[in-house]
C-alpha cells in the first residue's frame, strides 16, 4: 500500500517540478477576438491645442557656479561680492594696494572686444538669496567706481582688478569694530556703458575646482608697524543678479531667457484623448529661431521641461524634469521633448498645469533661446506635437 502512495506521490511531484513552458506563442492569435486587440491612435499638432505663456521663475541664486557680468541687448547681469574675513587687528594698517582676483570661465555672450565692467562699493545690505532689484534700480551703491576692467580672456587664468585701497582700508577698520561690521557690504561689478558682452567667472561655490583654486579673492598688500605683507581674503558671499531693462512677456516666439529665468509655460488641451488610455509616446518638437536667439560661447545647449505636481490644496508634491537635446534637421536646430510621462500623468492623476520649458544653463548664462511658435509663417517650423495612445481593451 505504501508503495502505491509513494508511487503516486512521486508521480505528482514530477509533474510539479516539471517546469512548464509559459512563454507566449503566436499559436492561436487568430481566435483572440478583435475586442482584445490593443488599438492605437496618433494625434498630431492640429488635434492638440496648446497655449504658451512666458513666466518669470523665482530661482534661488545661492550656491551658483558662475558669476555673470555684462550686457547683451536689454539683458544685463551684475556680480556682487563680499569680503569679510579680515583679521580684526589691522584697523591701523596701511593698505598699499588691493586687487580683486577673478577667474574667467570660457562662457561668453556677445562681442568679447567690448567687454568691460566697473567696480562699486555697495551701500545697502543684501544676501545671496535675494540680491534684489534695488541693486539695479536704486542704485544702492556708490556711483563712483573703485575699480574697473576692460578686455577679454582667452583662458581661465586669473585677472587682477585693482581696487581703491581706501575702500579696503575701511573694511579693515570695520572688521575691528563689531558695531561697524555691517558697513562692509562688499562690491558690485556692473557692466560698462559701452559693453555688449557678458562673461562668466567662477564663483566661490563652483564645484568644478573643488580645491578653491578658481574662487574669487582679494589680494591686499598692507603695512603695519613698518612691516609690509600680503593677505588673501576669499569672498565670504558672492552671487550675480540678472535683469532686463525691457523684456516683453508678449513675444511672437516661445522664449527662454537665462540669467533672468524667463521660461515658457506650455499647456496642452488633452480633451481629445479619451480617459484611461495608455500613452505610448508623446513628443513636442521645437525649432530654434536663430535670428531671435542669443546663445553664448561654450554654453550648455540643452533645454529642460518641468512639470510640477500639486495636490488639490495647491501644495507642491513632486516635480519631473525631462531633457531636450538639439539635433539638426533640414538645416534647422530642433529640440525634441519626450513628454510621454507628462501626458499620461495629466490624463490620469495630475492637475494639468502644463510644463515649463527652460534652458539648462538658466543659472549659468544670459542666453536667450527663441523658438518658432504656432504663428510662424513656415509651417515646418511651427511646434510639432505627436501623441500616440493605446485604447486598452475592457
Amino acid at each position: 500500500m505504501k508503495k502505491i502512495f509513494l508511487f503516486i506521490g512521486i508521480f505528482i511531484l514530477l509533474f510539479l517540478i516539471n517546469a512548464c513552458d509559459d512563454t507566449p506563442s503566436e499559436v492561436g492569435i487568430s481566435v483572440i477576438p478583435v475586442t482584445d486587440e490593443i488599438n492605437y491612435k496618433t494625434l498630431e499638432t492640429d488635434s492638440i491645442p496648446y497655449t504658451t505663456e512666458i513666466i518669470q521663475k523665482t530661482v534661488i541664486k545661492s550656491g551658483q557656479e558662475y558669476l555673470l557680468v555684462g550686457k547683451s541687448g536689454n539683458e544685463e547681469a551684475i556680480t556682487l561680492l563680499k569680503f569679510t574675513g579680515f583679521p580684526d587687528t589691522l584697523a591701523s594698517a596701511t593698505v598699499i594696494s588691493a586687487d580683486l582676483v577673478l577667474h574667467p570661465t570660457n562662457y561668453s555672450l556677445g562681442q568679447e572686444s567690448t567687454f568691460g565692467f566697473t567696480v562699486h562699493k555697495i551701500t545697502s545690505t543684501w544676501s545671496v538669496t535675494s540680491p534684489g532689484n534695488a541693486m539695479v534700480n536704486g542704485p544702492l551703491y556708490d556711483n563712483a567706481s573703485v575699480g574697473s576692467f576692460t578686455g577679454f580672456f582667452t583662458d581661465t587664468s586669473a585677472i587682477y582688478i585693482p581696487i581703491n585701497p581706501s575702500l579696503v582700508k575701511d573694511w579693515l577698520y570695520y572688521a575691528s569694530d563689531a558695531t561697524k561690521y555691517n558697513l562692509n557690504q562688499g562690491i558690485v561689478l556692473t557692466p560698462s556703458a559701452n559693453s555688449n558682452c557678458v562673461w562668466a567667472f567662477y564663483s566661490s561655490d563652483n564645484t568644478i575646482y573643488s580645491d578653491n583654486s578658481k574662487d574669487p579673492y582679494l589680494r591686499v598688500i598692507k603695512e603695519l608697524n613698518g612691516k609690509r605683507d600680503t593677505i588673501y581674503v576669499y569672498a565670504s558671499e558672492d552671487t550675480y543678479y540678472g535683469y532686463s531693462r525691457s523684456f516683453s512677456l508678449d513675444q511672437k516666439n516661445i522664449v527662454m531667457q537665462s540669467g533672468i529665468s524667463y521660461r515658457t509655460k506650455i499647456k496642452f488641451d488633452l480633451s481629445k484623448i479619451p480617459k484611461h488610455v495608455h500613452i505610448s509616446s508623446a513628443s513636442l518638437t521645437l525649432t530654434l529661431d536663430p535670428d531671435d536667439s542669443k546663445i553664448g560661447k561654450n554654453s550648455i545647449d540643452s533645454l529642460a521641461a518641468v512639470a510640477y505636481i500639486y495636490n488639490s490644496d495647491g501644495v507642491l508634491l513632486q516635480s519631473f524634469n525631462i531633457i531636450g537635446t538639439p539635433i539638426i534637421d533640414n538645416g534647422n536646430k530642433v529640440y525634441n521633448f519626450n513628454i510621454t510621462l507628462f501626458v499620461q500623468g495629466w490624463l490620469d492623476k495630475w492637475i494639468n498645469n502644463g510644463m515649463e520649458i527652460f534652458h539648462l544653463g538658466e543659472l549659468y548664462s544670459l542666453d536667450r533661446y527663441s523658438f518658432y511658435s504656432k504663428n510662424a509663417i513656415d509651417p515646418n517650423k511651427k511646434p510639432k506635437i505627436k501623441i500616440t495612445y493605446l485604447n486598452l481593451p475592457y
Binding site: 512548464c20 507566449p24 503566436e26 490593443i38 496618433t42
Partner: protein, 410 residues
Amino acid sequence: MKKIFFIIIFAASLYSQESGSPYSRFGLGFFNYSISTRSTGNAGTSIAIFDENELNNLNPATWSKIKNTVFSSGLFYESSTSEDNRGKKKFQNMNFSNTVLGVPLQKDKEFVLALGLFSKSKVGYNIYQNVVVNDLPAKSVYFGNGGISEFMLGLTYSPMHKLNVGFKTGYNFGEVQHSGKLQFNNSEYIDNEYLNSIYVKGFTFTGGIIYSGLGELLGIHYGNVGFLFSPKSNLRAKKERYSTFSSSSATISDTVIEGEKELTLPLNYGLGFDFGLNEKYHLAFDYLFTGWEDYKYNEVNENFKNSQRLSFCIETIPEKDFLAPLSQRTRYSLGFYYERMNLEINGTRINEYGVTLGIGVPLSRNAFINSAIVYGRRGKNENELILDNFIKVHLSITLNELWFVNTEDQ
C-alpha cells in the same frame, strides 16, 4: 502516507499553472463537466450512475447510495498541444480538481448531505502577436488565467422505492483575468501593461432525479434513467481594470472599476441511462444540453452557441469479493464523448471529442484511488482555427468512514 498525499494535492492547487488553449479566452473559460475522477474515466457519463465512493457534480441524485461518510479530493495534470498554421505550442498544467464530503444521514430514505469545493471553470492562454505601431515593430501579448470555483451543498432523498431525487446549490466565486501588454523595442515608446479582472459571485441551483426500475422492464440486471436540470442563474460580476505606465522616472497606475453587473449562466439539462448488463458490466449514456445562447455578462453574449454533449461508457469490476486479487477488484472503464461546444469562431463551430480510460483501485475497505486518463481533440487546424490535442490525467483519493450512523444500522 495519506496525509502526504493530501498535502501534495494542496500544493498542486497552489501551483496551478494555467496556460492552455486559446479557446479558453471566451466567457468564463472551459467549464468542467466531470468533477469526480470516476466520471472523468467514464467520459463524463454520470447522470444515471450511482456512486458509493465519489460524488459527481452533474446529478445530485447520484449521491443517494453513499453508505458511509465519503471524503475525496483530487487533482489533474494536463498536457496539451495547440497548433495552427503558425506552428505548435505545448502546454502543461497541474490543477486542483475537487474536495467533496458526503454524509449519509438516514439510510432508509437515502438522505445524504454533501458539500464540496471544486474548480468549475478555467481560463488559460498566453499568446503574442507582432504588430506595427507608427511604423515601429511591437509585440502584443495576451494572457488569461483564473476561473471560477463552486462551493456546493446538496441533499438527496428517496421519496419512494427506486426513485431518488437530489438537489444542490452552489456558491460560485472566482476571478477571471484577461491581461495584455504592448512591448516596444524603442526608447521613445513606453510599454504598457493592463489587467482586466472579472470577479464573479452568486448561486446556482441543480436538481436531479434517478429512477432505477428500468432493469425489470428491460429484463437486465439493473437499469437507471436519470435527469438533471439546472435553471438559468443570475450571478453578479464586477469588472476592474488595472493599467500601469512605467517610465524610468515614475510609475502611474490607473484603475477603472465598474459596478456589479449581472452575469447569466445558462440553463442546462441532461438525460442519462445506466444499464447493468450483469454483475460485472454496465453501460451508460448521457446527453447534456447547455443553453449558452442565454449566457450574458453586461448584456453581451460573446456569440456563444448552445452546446450539446454526448457520452458513453462501459465499466466493469471483474470481482467484487474483497478477498479477490487487487487487479480483479479494480474498476475499469472505457468511455467516449463528443461535444458540440459553445464556440463558433470564424463561422465554424468548435467541437471536442475524446476517449477516456478509468481505473479505480480499492486500497482497503475504506480507501480508494481513482485515476482517469483522457485523450481528446478540440477544434481543427483550418480556417484560422486551432487544433488542440490534450491528455489529462486525473487522480483522486477517497476515504470512507462511518459517521452519524445509529448503532443498530451498523
